[in-house]
Subunit: 139 residues, 2 copies
């Protein structure tokens, strides 16, 4: 269930130290050692899986049911103004460690982390076409 070449699996196995905040049979939450802000936490599944689409529904539910409590605790402990929850799938989406991880990133006005929001618009009919293609993949 773990990959010997994966740094997060090594943390799960205790072969690499980590500063843990929450542990369950399904997952682990620990401090990111390269934080985007003070209190940046990572939440990972206890089994090796590269991207979220490859997780089971039950595995995702067991892990992500902890998000409300974890985000609340990070916010209370740091006093931050907001929090981004970010999970990157694939190098094109900035995934660096190929073991699913949810970033819990404390945010404050004027802080270092930022993203743009280049909201586009669909030409007529395109949104329905895409939705239909997605619905077909869900079946």
């Amino acid at each position: 269930m773990t990959d010997p070449a994966c740094i997060f699996c090594k943390i799960l196995e205790g072969d690499i130290p980590a500063v843990k905040v929450l542990e369950s049979p399904d997952c682990l939450a620990f401090m990111d050692i390269g934080p985007l802000a003070e209190g940046h936490v990572l939440l990972i599944p206890a089994s090796h899986v590269e991207t979220i689409d490859k997780m089971s529904a039950a595995g995702a539910a067991a892990m992500l049911g902890l998000l409300p409590r974890l985000v609340g605790a990070v916010q209370a402990a740091t006093g931050c103004a907001g929090v981004n929850v970010l999970q990157n799938n694939g190098p094109a989406a900035h995934q660096e460690v190929m073991h699913v991880h949810f970033h819990i990133i404390p945010r404050n006005p004027g802080d270092a982390f930022h993203f743009n929001w280049p909201a586009g618009k669909y030409p007529n009919g395109r949104i329905e076409e895409l939705a239909e293609a997605i619905r077909q993949e869900l079946d």
Copy 2:
């Protein structure tokens, strides 16, 4: 359970149209009409709640157990190279609609959406201090 002033509640109530891809008693997934990329989907809880820390564990689990299937379907339908899952809590974290929503954002090399990654470093002892503060809030 819904807020009459909330645009996502109006979508849930059917008062504003949306192009839906997946619906359950707990949540709704629909197309973002201001997409960061073709196939940008939003996943929201069926009850009005402003930020993820205010959701119940069961509510988050029921909604987020759908993420694997939904991300997989968006990826298959769009053929994108990667996917960001992003959830913003509070205006400081770029939340614009105050009803919890998870963005599923298809990514491709050279696309329009981007973020920086200003990874920092903790001075000696600081990571343990913060972890202890977070653990105390979790109790």
